[in-house]
Structure formats: structure tokens, C-alpha cells
């Protein structure tokens, strides 16, 4: 490929590539995101290719491997274009049948069609699946249209048009546009991106650095990973635009060490962008030069924190440093630095292409655009969802997420990653927006959402997150290192029935001190899960303390498993799964559980089909 030396050369290349993408040509789009690959999708891809070759259809049917579609739990996912037939849980051996029936013929394979778990209705087309229907896939939707390894795909659907447009603008106008779009950082803090760019542009010192934070260490979160893996060029394009606006020639992408596919795809994308003249020296003949290096993460959650991230790139221990000078003035190597999250960067090209006004019209006045969330926990549809800001939590949980499985009751949703707060039912109609989430004691964070049902114990939840943060605290400053540990010890005590009423006040007092006193935002937000559960579920804490009971039936020291004789059919299921042989009984006779040997693992409860095991 020869370099594009101008915007018009890029435009004519796009025309050529788009023309070659015949929208009527049958195409098998196979999701090759990490989620689907984990189900053995590679074999499915190979088999599709083999089946096509067998039928000599290479010229007439295309196979496209794409980035993550978000609905990972239904993987492997296949979409047949242009008919838009959506198949889920596709097995390797289904490839031939799909080609025969759905591509060559006009039939739909019933068993691969998605059924709405709520209505049992069959849904043929991807865009009609409720999980997708209520989303607004501005950023993430492109994943399904492109092969992440093909810069041609990205250019064909309009990629790098934002860059071409930006290079013809004055740098300060680009910054203005981003400010007017009111784009806020997606990495946690929600800082105004335009302001950050402006400060870096105005700061004295050179070189100036532009960095993409792809350290994503929150347990269960993988939106940044899926973007980098599925559409690396959108992030690169955003960074080049940002670099031009700021006046930077050096960029870094700091990728979490456990993301090998992201590293591979980004590396390939950087190389092809260079080859096309979209990165490196004299980009699109504009005279502007900028290049990107990839840096593998330091392997700790805290390395995602800005000052720790800089230290890590500089080759020092990834530990936060207190500074009262902004990174925009003195960041990496003490030079002006603009650090933005993966998703933040990916939002830049559409803003430039379609304009700030269009962008700001999406969402709420204070939080514009869309946000990608990872929706997990006790919810029917789990996966990655992209929604306009301002959507209510209820729409996410019950509309997109399809509600709580097994008809159980919604209890709380935790947003914002490990140090986010737990939001109860009464706030479900609240719009999802940076400021609203903070008001109820939680945060947007990086976009984790964990749904909890009535069998989740809030003391246990608080303990779980605190345990994670305790292990991830770097240990540099006293409040975070020692305070989180002490809070976790108190929670242990409460969940074992040894808590006292004054422990609640004590947790609140320590929590406030840890928030106020910690050096970085890890400690500065760590107490949120505890404080928010105390705020909204104080009764549950009191039940543990006063009545020595765990109402949700989770805290092992406070519960007993017994057999309800009326319901027991003597099926022996419990006896077979019990690891300590505490559940015993003869066939067709009522079983019993020996309390002395029961380790309260709950295996019998899960195994019993007759609701005969009761927790009390």
C-alpha cells in the first residue's frame, strides 16, 4: 500500500474501498472478540472457510471476523449479512448448515435463533434483539462492521475522515469543538476533555505527550479491551486528532499486561496506519508528525492511576505520587501530558466528523454522548452495552438487561467499578449521568455495573470489594493501606455475628478519614461500597449485628441449611453433591443435614429441585 499524501487521496481510497464492499454480497460476520474466542470461535471461523471452499463459494460469500458485539454470554455469535439474521451459541459443525440453509437457501435455523427469555419470542434480526434495540451503539457498533485487523474496513466505513477534517482545522478550533461537545473523560473522573486538551496545549515545555490509558483493571470490566481489540483504529484516530490539537508528537498506549489480543491488534493497527500515512511523519501530507508507542502495563490495578501510570512508563515502580501540579503541566517525564481513557479517545472522531452540536444533543446537559457499560451479575442479559447518557438505570436493568433471572427481586446495582457505591431500587429511575451517580453516593467510574438480587448480602458485597481494594492498595499511604484493612476486619466481624452497633459508626468514621486522607483516588474512593451499603441497607447491617442473622442467607457463620421434610422427595441430589457428606438419607426418604459437619457451601441448596433445602 502506498501512503496517502493528502486528504483527497484518502477520500478517493475510501471511495474505492467502499465500492468494493458490495452491501448485497452475502457475508458471514463472526464475532472474534475475546468472549466469543473463549468459546472456541476460531474453529468455527476455520470451518466456515473450509465449508465455503468445499462449495467453491470463495468469490460469492465473504467471511468477516469482527470485534466484540457485546452480547458475549450468547457466543459464539454469527450475523448473516445482508439479511441480518442473528445466530447465537453457534457450534463449529453448524457452519455447513448455515451456508446451505440461510445463505444459499432462504431458511432460518430455528435452534440458533435467539429467544427472548422474558417473552419466549423468537427474534431473527440482531437489531430487534431487546439487548441491542435499546442501546445506542455510536462507538461500539462499528465493531460488528469491521475486521479489527483491516484498516481498509475501517476506512471504508468512514474511518480517518475525522482526522482528515481535523488536519484542515486550526488546532484551537478542534479543542473548542471537543469542549463544546462537552465530552467528559470515560476513565473514571469525568473530567472535561476539552479543558484537559486546552491546558496541555497552553502548557510550556516540550515534548508534549498524549497517552491512552488502557490499563482497565476493574474486575469484570472489559469495555476498553473490547474497543482496542475490536476497533483499534478508532482509538488511534482519536489520539492523532488530539495530538494535533495539543501540539504533541509523542504518544503512548498503556495497555494492561493481560490483554495480549489488544496488544496484537493495536500493534498491527499502528503499523498499517503508518503505512497509509495516517501516523508517523508528515501525516496526510499536512506536515504534522506524531507516532505512538505501546507500553505494557505494570500488572497492578493502581497502575491505571495517572501518576502511577507515568512512573510505570518511566520505568519506576507503579506507585502514585502526590503532586499539586496538573499532569497537563508536568506529567510524564515532567512534561505536559494529556492522559485520556480508551473510550474517551474513541469518542473524538465522531465529534469531529459530525460536530459538537450533534454530539451534545445526545445525553444530558451535564453528561453528553454515550457510555459503554459492562453489565454483569444477577441479570438475564449480561455483556457490554452502550447507552446514551441520561438513560435510567431501570431501562438498563430491565429493558436491555432483561431483568433478574429466576423471577427474583432486584436489590441493588453497583456502578463505577470496585469502589463504586450500591444503588437501591428507589433510585432506579434516576438518569445515568456523572453528577447524578455521585449524588447518590456512587460514581460513573469506568463503567462497571453489577446487578444484585435479593439473595445478595450487602455486608458481604461491601466486604468483597474492600477485600479487592485492600489487595490492590499500593501501601504507600497510611489511611488507604491500614484503614481499608481495618474496615475489612470490622466487616468480617459483622458478617460472623461478632459485630457491635458502634461498628457502623466506626466504619463511617474510618471511611471518611480514608476518603479525606488518602494520597490517590484508590483510597479516596475505596470506602464507597461500605458507606453506600450502610446508607441504603443499614437494616441489613443491624440484622447481622443485633439478631445475628444474615437476611439474604449468605454469611456462613449466621446461617444453617436444613431440609424441609414436606418438600423433600428423597431424590438424593443433595447427598450426592455435599462435599463433606453432611447431607444424607436413603432414596425416596426425607434427607437430613448434619449441622456439625456442614460447611455451609450451599451446594445442596443449588442442587435441590424441590425447594426442600431452606436457609435460615
Amino acid at each position: 500500500m502506498k501512503k496517502c499524501k493528502s486528504a483527497s487521496e484518502l477520500a478517493s481510497l475510501r471511495e474505492k474501498l467502499a465500492a468494493a464492499r458490495d452491501p448485497k454480497k452475502p457475508t458471514i460476520v463472526i464475532c472474534a472478540g475475546t468472549g466469543c474466542l473463549a468459546y472456541g470461535t476460531q474453529k468455527l471461523i476455520d470451518n466456515f472457510r473450509a465449508e465455503i471452499a468445499k462449495r467453491k463459494l470463495e468469490g460469492t460469500v465473504d467471511v468477516r471476523t469482527s470485534g466484540c458485539h457485546g452480547f458475549c454470554e450468547r457466543g459464539p455469535l454469527v450475523v448473516i449479512q445482508p439479511k441480518q439474521i442473528f445466530y447465537q451459541h453457534v457450534k463449529t459443525e453448524d457452519a455447513g448448515e448455515i451456508i446451505e440453509k440461510t445463505i444459499l437457501g432462504d431458511a432460518v435455523i430455528d435452534r440458533l435463533v435467539y429467544r427472548d427469555p422474558a417473552t419466549k419470542e423468537k427474534i431473527l434480526h440482531e437489531h430487534d434483539v431487546p439487548f441491542y434495540k435499546k442501546q445506542m451503539r455510536l462507538i461500539f457498533g462499528m465493531n460488528g462492521q469491521i475486521d479489527p485487523r483491516s484498516i481498509d474496513d475501517y476506512i471504508a466505513i468512514g474511518g480517518y475522515a475525522g482526522l482528515a477534517k481535523a488536519l484542515a482545522m486550526k488546532p484551537e478550533h478542534i479543542v473548542d469543538e471537543v469542549t463544546k461537545a462537552k465530552l467528559r473523560g470515560r476513565g473514571g473522573g469525568g473530567f472535561m476533555t476539552g479543558w484537559k486538551w486546552e491546558s496541555t496545549a497552553k502548557a510550556e515545555g516540550s515534548p508534549k505527550y498524549v497517552i491512552c490509558n488502557a490499563d482497565e483493571g476493574d474486575p469484570g470490566a472489559y469495555m476498553d479491551r473490547s474497543l482496542l481489540e475490536g476497533n483499534p483504529h478508532s482509538v488511534i484516530e482519536g489520539m492523532v486528532i488530539g495530538a494535533f490539537a495539543i501540539g504533541s508528537s509523542d504518544g503512548y498506549i498503556y495497555v494492561r499486561n493481560e490483554y495480549p489480543l489488544a496488544v496484537t491488534n493495536v500493534t498491527a493497527a499502528i503499523e498499517s496506519a503508518r503505512a497509509y500515512g495516517l501516523l508517523g511523519e508528515n501525516i496526510l501530507g499536512s506536515g504534522f508528525s506524531f507516532d505512538i508507542k505501546i507500553n505494557r502495563g505494570g500488572g497492578a490495578f493502581v497502575c491505571g492511576e495517572s501518576s502511577a501510570l507515568f512512573a510505570s512508563i518511566e520505568g519506576r515502580a507503579g506507585e502514585p505520587r502526590q503532586k499539586y501540579v496538573h499532569a497537563t503541566d508536568r506529567g510524564l517525564y515532567d512534561k505536559p501530558t494529556c492522559l485520556n481513557n480508551v473510550e474517551t479517545w474513541a469518542n473524538v472522531p465522531p465529534i469531529i466528523v459530525k460536530g459538537a452540536e450533534w454530539y451534545a444533543s445526545i445525553g444530558t446537559p451535564g453528561s453528553t454522548g454515550t457510555k459503554i457499560f459492562s453489565l454483569v451479575g444477577k441479570i438475564n442479559n449480561t455483556g457490554l452495552v452502550e447507552v446514551p447518557m441520561g438513560i435510567t438505570l431501570r431501562e438498563i436493568v430491565f429493558g436491555i438487561g432483561g431483568g433478574i433471572p429466576k423471577g427474583r427481586k432486584f436489590k441493588a446495582i453497583q456502578t463505577g467499578g470496585p469502589s463504586g457505591g450500591c444503588i437501591p431500587e428507589k433510585h432506579l429511575d434516576m438518569p445515568v449521568d456523572f453528577d447524578e451517580l455521585s449524588k447518590v453516593g456512587s460514581m460513573m467510574g469506568s463503567g462497571g455495573m453489577i446487578v444484585m438480587d435479593d439473595r445478595t448480602c450487602m455486608v458481604d458485597v461491601a466486604k468483597y470489594f474492600l477485600k479487592f481494594l485492600e489487595q490492590e492498595s499500593c501501601g504507600k499511604c497510611t489511611p488507604c493501606r491500614e484503614g481499608i484493612y481495618q474496615m475489612r476486619t470490622i466487616l468480617d466481624r459483622i458478617s460472623e455475628g461478632a459485630g457491635e452497633e458502634k461498628d457502623i459508626e466506626l466504619l463511617e468514621w474510618i471511611g471518611t478519614g480514608v476518603i479525606d486522607g488518602s494520597l490517590c483516588a484508590l483510597g479516596g474512593t475505596a470506602p464507597f461500597p461500605v458507606l453506600s451499603t450502610i446508607k441504603y441497607f443499614r437494616d441489613e447491617y443491624l440484622a447481622h449485628i443485633r439478631d445475628k442473622k444474615c437476611p439474604a442467607g449468605v454469611c456462613k457463620k449466621l446461617i444453617t441449611f436444613t431440609v424441609a421434610a414436606d418438600n423433600c422427595t428423597g431424590c438424593t441430589a443433595c447427598a450426592r453433591v455435599c462435599p463433606t457428606k453432611a447431607a444424607t438419607g436413603e432414596k425416596k426418604k426425607v434427607h437430613t443435614i448434619d449441622q456439625a459437619t456442614c460447611i455451609k457451601c450451599g451446594a445442596c441448596f443449588e442442587a435441590c429441585k424441590f425447594d426442600a433445602i431452606t436457609i435460615s
Partner: protein, 241 residues
Amino acid sequence: MADMVTLTIDGRRVTANAGTTILEAARDANIDIPNLCSNEELHPYGSCRLCMVEITHKKRQRLVVSCIHEVAEGLEVKTATERVLNVRRLVMHLLLSRNSTHPRLREIAAGLGIEKSMFPVDYKGCILCGQCVRVCREVVGVSAIGFKSRGDTRAVATPFDEPPGDCIACGSCHYVCPVGVIPMEEKDGVRRIWKTDFPMAKCSVCGKYFAPVKQLEYFRKIANLPENHFDTCVDCRSTKK
């Protein structure tokens, strides 16, 4: 002359050189702010969080650590608001749970009305102020010790917990430790530190053991002085003409 700025600390007008920290400015004005990890010879570190103060600048109020935050014109500093005191009390309760006995800690705690930690004491001695690690790296320049592990298992250690290869046995860490928990002993011409024995050198004049051989070797290498400068102890060096 450096630019001067005027600020108020606890209502008192104070002038200080631009670029000094609030802690330094307060010290010069005889206003006491308790601190444990700060040391004038070392880069500020901000880890103990004891020196927190509440500042109001351009109408914005917030907590900062005074050992790092620099003075500014018109800055209003309050060293003992309830929020500040609560952080300090928490820090002292937490530190006393690691080291319940050291007089300096007990004195700071007493100043905050704390007699003993509200948390169970799990005696570790070290309060992780990092002064030893920093003095070794920043002043001595050898980085023989560092931190290992994270969270509350963090500890000062030699690499791989083995005898420290880069250690020159100068004892700076021992002297700088605010709670005196780095043992160092000298007996029969051997200095023992970090569980390692270092032979001492005898003064070529008075014949007394005066410094570890390794330390002298290191000094000879980095100092631009005659080779034999380090053959004699400091006493004999100063009397020798």
C-alpha cells in the same frame, strides 16, 4: 532574591519564599504541624498523611498535605480544622496499631488526645514512612533497600530478602528512621546491618575502626578527593595538617 508570597496560617499572616512548602512556612513561623515522613534532605513523599491541612484558595476549600503543597499568594491555611484532626486521629490510631510504643508516636498521638490505638495492635515497628528507602536512594545513591509487597503487607526489605549487594553499610537508614527500628551494631571491627556483617577499616593514624570498608571504597569512587583521603578517621583527618 526569590519571590515572596503572603499567606495566612491559622489566621496569622506569614510571608514565605515562593516554592517553599506550607509545612516549611509553618515551621518558620513556629506553627507546629505534626509530620512523620517529611525530611528536609529528601524529596517530599506525602505518605504518612499526618501533615494534612485545610486550604482555601480562590474560594475552593480542600485538604492537602502540607509537606508537598507549596505556598501561594493569598492562600488561607487552617492546620487544625475538625476534618483535618479527624484524618490525623485516624492516621495515629492506625500507626499506633503497627507501633504502639515509640515515644515520638505516643507524643504526637497524645497531642491529638489519643492514648492508645482503637485498633488491635499487631506490632510491626516500621511505620512505612519511606525515609530509609529514600535516603539510601536519594542521598547515598545506592538503592540497597526498597519496598516489597503491597497493601498492608508492604515492608522495607533488601532485594529478594537476601544480604543487600549494594549496601555500603553507611547506616544512613538506621539514623534516619524516626522510630528507630533498623538495627545496627558494631563489634570487634564488624558492623552488622540488614542481617549482614561488614568489616570495618582501621584509621591509618590512630588505628581505631572507623568506617565500613565498603563505604570507604564507595566514597573513594564517587568523591573527587585524593585516594588516601579516606584512610584516616574524621578526627585524625581534621587534626592532620
